[in-house]
Symmetry: C2
Amino acid sequence: MNELQSTNRNRRILGIDPGVNITGYGVIDQTGQQLELVEAGVLRGGKGDLSERCLRLYQGLVEVLESLHPDEMAIEQLYSHYQRPRTAIIMAHARGVLCLAAQQREIPMSDYAATQIKKVLTGNGRASKGQMQLAVCREFQLAEAPEPPDVADALATALCHAFIGRS
Amino acid sequence: MNELQSTNRNRRILGIDPGVNITGYGVIDQTGQQLELVEAGVLRGGKGDLSERCLRLYQGLVEVLESLHPDEMAIEQLYSHYQRPRTAIIMAHARGVLCLAAQQREIPMSDYAATQIKKVLTGNGRASKGQMQLAVCREFQLAEAPEPPDVADALATALCHAFIGRS
């Protein structure tokens, strides 16, 4: 481990917005105060039953991990979707296999509540989707918000992790 | 595929009772009307965070799959634990990685509601834990119910799948 890494200033962060249909991912590099967008996109669960879709997401994330080699992973917290148990239970299957892929490679994981991610990025724990997208665009000087919104959510999660490590 | 298999009469069934602390498993052979207990036990999530425990469960199930080669897997249905969302969400992470292990090996999976398993084994969808254990003991001529109860639950799930295929 070199000095930069030991002070948490040189790291590649993977942010994940888990979902069975679409999982957003965003990879950013943090060098000192500098943040750079490396790659962002979606993994698609596709058709079939829940297990088939989880396998596809798992394989997709393995590909991302093996091509981009993130040092750390940040993912939305477990209990954010409490209000809709059916959605939460399905999402948790996807979240389980995504975390498994990272754990198999011993990538440290951090999780953040949705409200915390909003608060860190905008100062407001109840920021709207539009405000969040604006914060992501501003950080990476993007002319337009990445589509689908899951990509911006994944980048927001990665940014939250970077900002918290930086402060 | 031989004739026995094509009529669903000769198959090895793995029943799973998923949990992050303890996942019960039970492997049975079905040959015509005959049912035989092959092996039953537990996989332990052990200590650590959810991802570490999911990895341990996944590795444990991979070992079972690779040593016992079940043809089919039966697992309790997704929405049985609706009433306790926190437990359900954690359990769904475990369920996700367990299903992944089977899906990676193209093992067909069936899921059953808890009430359905009870109904098939005892005739009563609201059977008590004791009645269920008795049904499992009777089927395999066991003097005592397997411990911990997760083992009996896994065997009950495998039995439910066997009975439904047989009828």
